[in-house]
Structures are given as structure tokens and as C-alpha cells.
């Protein structure tokens, strides 16, 4: 590692701190959006004054705002994300128990998106405006516009209920029963991957078209290099950075879109947890899920930034 790379990596690590802090402010601030007295809203219509006072004290709502934040953050840093207002269980335990189910389908969807999106993008970019390109760009437009939970429903109807190839609903632990876990995750991951496939195809296509039409590629053609060699040695090297950026975006979107997918496939993941707790006004759980998910996204973005610093020739050469 060069000195320059070390500097870049160091500055990325420093830059992530304010983003994490601001994210915690946003998550803490969610409770401030509740109209009126949050304690009364949480306690429900028929709650006694004692119950409301109890909730207010438990959430620390009787203290000044900055103090509430400091206490909340202090606990969060130590891994204490408070307890559920409904089950009384620690929030972090529940989130971590469900997280593997969600991560399995989102990571699988991401892998599928890369495996399908990259070849499609290359195929389209090397045949710009031809029939293959038109078909691929049409598929990509459909992939962006299709509601993925609806696609999930159709997949269930066809492959699970109709052909019986996959289980309709539920999930299994990847460590205890990997085969069953994968067969449960296949359809949800496929439904989830469509948006990512479309996004990767489009971005890779336009990035590759730009590289292939640039001056220096024309020079390489003039020097007599074959199309395939130019594509592999110069085109893909240049667009690999684009791909890295898109992967971060696609993963973030998949973590969001998985919420509706988990509802379709009755998967006990973090998405179904956040919906249930938002509906039941179990705010500590809502905050806990959002907190863990945002940390995962920030962590992945940081990793991508660091890879960038290692791969980008503009950082390396100086």
C-alpha cells in the first residue's frame, strides 16, 4: 500500500464518523415526528394516566431533548437498543435473530443481479442500437418499473403453487439446513433481483458505451487490437469502478424492497419486523431495525470507498 492510499483510506474512515452520528440523530428524531404526546400515542386510546407516565419515564420523555439523545446514544453504543414495548424483549436480540433471513435473500439477490446484469450490459453495449440492444434495454425498462412484490406473487403462483418446485412461504436457517434455506430463498431473491439487474444493466451499458467510443479506444482499434481484447483489457477495467458504485446502490435498494418481498413470502426478517412494529407503534423496535440496517449500509459503502481507493488508478499512480 502506498502512502497516498493510506492517506485516502484514513480520510474515508474519518469522514464516516459524522455520517454515522447524523444517522443516529435522524433515528432518534423519529420519535419527535409523533404528533402530540408520544407516550399517550404509544399507550393507546384507553390507557390510564399511570401507564402513560410509565411509558414516558421508560422512554425518558420527561427529560430534556439533548439528554434523551445522549442517554439513547450511550446505550446504543453499548449494544443496548432498549426493549420492545409489546414483548418486553431486548430489541437488538430480536433484530439479530431475524437479520440472517433478510441478509440471505438480499445478498442472493445482489449476486443474481451481478451475474445477470453484467453480461446483459456488456451484450447491449457492444451492439448499440441493434436488435439485441433493444431487447436488453426493454427488459431493463420493465425491470425498473415492475413492482417486485407483484413479481414475487406471480413467481409463487407459477413455481411454488403451480409446479411445486419451491416452498411457497417461510425461511430456514442457512447454517442448520443450507439446502432448505436456499430453496426458501430462491424465489424471493429472484423477485428482489429484478430491480438490481435492470439498474446494473443500464449503468454498465452506458458506462461501457462511453469508454468504447472514447478517443483512446479508437486509437487502440487503429493499432489493430481486436474488439474482444479491447473490451476485456480496457473496457471492463474502466467500468469496474462504475459497477462497484452501482452495487452499493443496488444493495441499499434491495434492503428496502425486501420489506414487501418478506410480506409476500412470509419471511420472518427485519422487514416484516419493521412493518409490524410501525403498525403497533412499537417505536424502540422500529428505531432498532432502522439503526442496524443503516449501519450495514454505511459499512458496505465504506468498504466500497476503500476498494475504490485501492483500485482507482488516479489514486495509485500519484
Amino acid at each position: 500500500m502506498t502512502r497516498r492510499q493510506a492517506l485516502v483510506i484514513g480520510s474515508r474512515l474519518v469522514q464516516v464518523v459524522p455520517v454515522v452520528i447524523l444517522a443516529t440523530v435522524v433515528i432518534f428524531g423519529l420519535l419527535q415526528l409523533v404528533p402530540g404526546d408520544p407516550a399517550a400515542v404509544i399507550a393507546g386510546e384507553y390507557a390510564t394516566a399511570e401507564r402513560i407516565a410509565g411509558i414516558r419515564h421508560m422512554l425518558g420523555l420527561d427529560r430534556p431533548l439533548w439528554e434523551q439523545y445522549a442517554v439513547w446514544l450511550g446505550h446504543a453504543v453499548q449494544g443496548d437498543l432498549s426493549t420492545s414495548l409489546i414483548t418486553g424483549q431486548p430489541v437488538l436480540d430480536e433484530v439479530l435473530r431475524r437479520l440472517p433471513n433478510t441478509l440471505l435473500i438480499t445478498v442472493l439477490a445482489l449476486v443474481l443481479a451481478v451475474l445477470v446484469g453484467v453480461p446483459l450490459g456488456i451484450l447491449a453495449a457492444t451492439r448499440v442500437d441493434g436488435p439485441v440492444d433493444r431487447v436488453v434495454t426493454t427488459i431493463a425498462s420493465l425491470g425498473v418499473a415492475v413492482p417486485n412484490f407483484w413479481l414475487g406473487m406471480i413467481l409463487v403462483g407459477f413455481f411454488a403453487l403451480g409446479l411445486g418446485w419451491f416452498p411457497t412461504t417461510g425461511a430456514a436457517s442457512l447454517t442448520q439446513d443450507p439446502l432448505r434455506a436456499l430453496s426458501h430463498a430462491a424465489l424471493p431473491a429472484l423477485a428482489l433481483a429484478t430491480g438490481g439487474i435492470a439498474e446494473i444493466t443500464r449503468q454498465l451499458r452506458s458506462a461501457l458505451i462511453e469508454v468504447l467510443s472514447s478517443q483512446y479506444v479508437r486509437t487502440l482499434h487503429a493499432k489493430g487490437l481486436s474488439q474482444a481484447r479491447i473490451l476485456w483489457q480496457h473496457g471492463l477495467k474502466n467500468v469496474s469502478l462504475t459497477l462497484l458504485t452501482v452495487i452499493g446502490l443496488v444493495f441499499n435498494r434491495a434492503l428496502g424492497a425486501t420489506v414487501a418481498i418478506e410480506a409476500v413470502f412470509a419471511i420472518p426478517g427485519t422487514g416484516s419486523l419493521v412493518v409490524a412494529s410501525a403498525t403497533n407503534k412499537d417505536f424502540p423496535v422500529v428505531q432498532g431495525v432502522v439503526f442496524v440496517l443503516v449501519l450495514i449500509v454505511i459499512g458496505l459503502n465504506l468498504m466500497i470507498d476503500l476498494l475504490y481507493a485501492l483500485l482507482d488508478p488516479r489514486v495509485n499512480r500519484r
Partner: protein, 286 residues
């Protein structure tokens, strides 16, 4: 300022539609949907909430798309779902613009620590998976279509602010804006006369694309029971209901799903076409 042979706006609009069939079809479809929304009460053959004993009936002369599990006419529910959907999309994008536009202009124009802080807040907000954040905000504001779409709008605002910020910075450093400043034009006037008109074109493109995203978000949130509340019809909620009896009547889920897909496609196609037309690098070359 304009060139002597520049065609009128109406002429340019027509030639744009003539050159791009996809955009013309999309625009026609959206206008049709919009008129259907306004005339839903007149056009729909039945009431969207009237129940009958004729449950899960296949399509026939009286019910072109059949009936749902409560014997309600599916076509009428689909038509009455259109104004809900359009209202939801426009509300979300409106809220997003109302926050994103001023914040983006302020950050870009003022620069310095204001820009630095805004940039960090935008980075932080964009790290949240958008639907999850929208669900959390909806939970706090209270469940319902209006609140959930305000939540989606809040989630859209950092992306819009970032786009406007970049546009503002580009225009701000142009020579003529410098000149206007030197001549003592007030910042508000500079923003109104110079920055806004120049930043508005990429903004219009983005807003059109966001309408599709808002539509899909509304469908997801209503599907999850956080948006439109029964008995009001919405396409996402119709899908949620049809999923309950999918094994008996799987064809019920096609109509609402296709309605969502076509409308999202139309907004996206229009946005892409507008981008090609409004892209300043192409405009300057002709």
C-alpha cells in the same frame, strides 16, 4: 436573447412527440389516466365499495374484470384506485420538491459551512434504505395514505437537494451571474432570475422519474397496510387482498399489477425522453 429562427414552444413540443413515439404513447396514456381519475364517478360502471353476493366471479358482461372476494366490481375499484395513485405520487414528489429545492439552492448558493453540513446530512439520509425509512416515518406520523406519502416525500428530498445543489453551483460560477452580483442584484433575485430557470430542466426530468418511484412506493406501502385504508381502493391494496385468495382465484392479481407496471413505465419513459430533449449538452449543439 433567443435566436431569430427559434421555433415556438408548441412547435418544439409537437416535434418532440413526433420524434419519440414512446414518449407520445406514454403521455397519451397518462392523460387518459388523469381524465379517468377526474371522471371516476362517471366512468366506473359500479360503486367501488358496493358488495354483492356474486363473489370472485370471472369476467362477464356486467363485470368486465370480474368481482373480488366481497363481490365488488374489480374494474370499478381499479378506476377509483387511479385518483388515489396519482394523488399519492404527486403528493410525495411535491413534498420532496418543497424540501429539496430550497435546501439544494441554499447549500449550493451559500457554500461554506452551510454546504458542508447539508452535504453530510444528505449523505446520512441517503444511507437509509428508502422504503424502511418511509415506513419508520409513517409509523411515527400515523398510518394512512397522506402520512405515508409525506414520509416518501421526505425520503426523496435529499436526492433532489443534491441534484439542485450541483446545478446551482454550476450556474453560480457562470460569468453572467457574477456580473449580476457585481451590479448589486439581490441574492433572492439572482436565484429567481438566473439559478432557478437553469436548474429547473434536470429537476423536471428527475421529478418525472420520481413519480414512477413514488407510485411503486405507494403500491408497496398500501400492500403492507400502511397506506390507503380499506374500504378505499388502491392498486397496491387490491394486490394485497388478491394475494389472500390466490389459490382460488389467481387471475385477480393481474389487473392491479399491470396497472402499476404500465403507469410506472409511462412515467419512466417520459422522464427518459425529457432527459434526452432537455439535456443541455445536446441543446447547445443544435
Amino acid at each position: 436573447m433567443s435566436a431569430p429562427h427559434r421555433p415556438s414552444a408548441a412547435r418544439r413540443f409537437l416535434s418532440w412527440l413526433r420524434s419519440d413515439l414512446r414518449a407520445a404513447v406514454s403521455l397519451a396514456y397518462l392523460l387518459l389516466l388523469f381524465s379517468l381519475s377526474l371522471l371516476a364517478n362517471v366512468v366506473a360502471p359500479h360503486s367501488p365499495i358496493a358488495q354483492s353476493m356474486d363473489m370472485l366471479a370471472p369476467p362477464d358482461a356486467a363485470h368486465w374484470l370480474g368481482t373480488d372476494d366481497l363481490g365488488r366490481d374489480v374494474l370499478s375499484r381499479l378506476i377509483h384506485g387511479a385518483p388515489m395513485t396519482l394523488y399519492a405520487s404527486i403528493l410525495a414528489v411535491g413534498v420532496g420538491s418543497l424540501i429539496g429545492l430550497p435546501v439544494g439552492i441554499m447549500a449550493g448558493y451559500l457554500g461554506g459551512w452551510v454546504d458542508g453540513l447539508t452535504g453530510r446530512v444528505i449523505d446520512a439520509l441517503l444511507s437509509f434504505p428508502s422504503i424502511v425509512l418511509a415506513i419508520a416515518v409513517t409509523g411515527a406520523l400515523g398510518i394512512g395514505l397522506t402520512n405515508s406519502m409525506i414520509a416518501v416525500g421526505i425520503v426523496f428530498s435529499p436526492g433532489l437537494a443534491r441534484l439542485i445543489r450541483v446545478q446551482t453551483i454550476v450556474v453560480k460560477n457562470d460569468l453572467y451571474v457574477d456580473a449580476a452580483r457585481t451590479f448589486g442584484m439581490s441574492p433572492l433575485r439572482i436565484v429567481w432570475r438566473h439559478i432557478l430557470p437553469n436548474a429547473i430542466q434536470p429537476f423536471i426530468v428527475q421529478v418525472t422519474l420520481l413519480l414512477a418511484a413514488a407510485l411503486l412506493a405507494e403500491a408497496s406501502l398500501s400492500f403492507l397496510g400502511l397506506g390507503v385504508q380499506p374500504p378505499q381502493p388502491s392498486w397496491g391494496q387490491m394486490l394485497a387482498r388478491s394475494y389472500g385468495y390466490m389459490e382460488i382465484s389467481p387471475e385477480q392479481m393481474y389487473a392491479p399489477g399491470l396497472a402499476i407496471l404500465f403507469t410506472a413505465l409511462a412515467f419512466n419513459a417520459l422522464g427518459e425522453s425529457l432527459r434526452a430533449v432537455l439535456d443541455p449538452t445536446r441543446r447547445r449543439s443544435d
